[in-house]
Symmetry: C2
Subunit: 271 residues, 2 copies
């Protein structure tokens, strides 16, 4: 199939967007489009230019025999702030209040397009952190974790409270829930995370940080390091958090059950 | 910002891919690019042409005052078959065998790019089924469910075995697990699924079909209908399955624990 420039641009844009954080040799495109490398380079220049102007990402070029291009998703911080402000408004809806000061959030977590956008914010934030795995806790952390991992092109490992028989040998640790002070167990299949990984921990909610702290300990059990911690919402906690370095998108600063008021503001990612 | 055609094509491709199954008025693009509608129509023609030639999707046009375009993701069935054949090969690796004839699958389920591709196969298959929600069972169905829902642009609702306090009122039903014949409970938050939805049920694995059957019953409890059932892998079951109409991507036709052999073939989606 022979392409004109317009056709190449459409296909190349699609291809790059579908393959973030992956080095694509120029020879791949020149053989795909049966075009000279010089034309391909020009095409890439056009794609790069627009993606950067729209703050959708950048296209990094590496030279040499194994030279090629890598699409790195980014976000426009202003647009991200707008999106987060809308999310804060949504979260402040008193209808969300559940007994015990919990918030109903499944409509947010259940929106795949929103998860993709929020995931891209984290992926942009950690794009230079050499992340090679995303870890999350079942159940509600999974959607945001996959969105982040899709944009970073790394695998996801899912930590669970129960010990499942269907995953082979597992590593379990005990941890203390920061808010309830109860001892709990979390497990991860031995095969789910390669040793020497650099792990980005992602979850939907953090209060005292006990669960996140547990995941950080679990990462060590796999001879791996923590690249960062990202949460969708953090709640203000009376005592010091068990995790000192993290990035939150939103912050639940006040829940007043009596007067049915919730106050949500931008998280630490905008600091 | 003023765009040349090449720039418009790059941005428009990105925009359409990020907004599947959403009607976008032509006026949106003409104001975004400060270009005449006639130029926009030509641009759309070029994008549509390439996306269709590459079997990535189609761009449906609706006329009239509220006229616009809708990107509908599709797949090339030949490429899909290749991908599924590779997946079958992977699944046949005897290293996956776990005690009890279970298969380790978290490396597959933990690969977000693969989940996106498999999700697109289901989204393409059900693209004319007026799906307006995807339902799945925690935990391992979630990644494939989100991938399908992303491409169909519909929300996801997550059914669980436990009864969580943090989601408000829930609807629970009892169901009989098809393979173990045990009575179990599954629950879904009342707010997670709007009445009169047309629900695509997606899961990672189906043996006798008891869990899927349970989800079908749960859909009825929400005055909703089942648009279809899609599973990543079905296992051959000695008795008749409890679900008669479903689509599987792969079929686990034989597990021989003694000789460490697994046989996996293409699922019903290729029938």
């Amino acid at each position: 199939m022979k392409y004109r420039r317009s056709g190449r641009l459409v296909d190349m844009t699609h291809y790059l967007l579908a393959h973030p954080h992956q080095l694509i040799p120029l020879t791949f495109f020149s053989s795909r489009y049966q075009s000279a490398k010089s034309s391909i380079s020009e095409d890439i220049g056009i794609v790069k230019d627009i993606l950067e102007k729209k703050h959708l990402g950048t296209v990094a070029t590496s030279a040499g025999a194994s030279g090629g291009v890598t699409f790195i998703p980014t976000v426009n911080l202003e647009e991200a702030a707008q999106l987060i402000d809308q999310l804060c408004d949504k979260l402040q809806d008193p209808e969300r209040l559940l007994p015990g000061g919990y918030l109903y959030m499944m409509d947010i977590i259940g929106d795949p397009a929103l998860m993709q956008e929020l995931g891209r914010i984290f992926a942009s934030h950690y794009r230079h952190s050499n992340v090679n795995a995303v870890m999350t806790m079942a159940t509600k952390g999974i959607p945001i974790a996959y969105a982040v991992a899709t944009h970073l092109h790394v695998p996801v490992c899912i930590v669970r409270h129960e010990q499942r028989i269907t995953e082979g040998s597992i590593v379990s640790i005990n941890y203390v829930s920061g808010s309830t002070k109860r001892i709990q167990t979390m497990s991860l299949a031995r095969r789910s995370l390669a040793p020497n990984s650099n792990v980005l921990i992602v979850d939907d909610f953090m209060k005292a940080g006990g669960t996140i702290r547990g995941m950080m300990d679990l990462v060590k059990e796999f001879q791996s390091t923590v690249a960062g911690v990202g949460v969708l919402t953090e709640a203000v906690h009376e005592e010091e958090k068990l995790v000192s370095t993290y990035t939150s998108l939103t912050k639940l600063s006040r829940v007043d059950e009596k007067n049915q008021q919730i106050q949500v503001e931008r998280g630490t990612i905008f600091n």
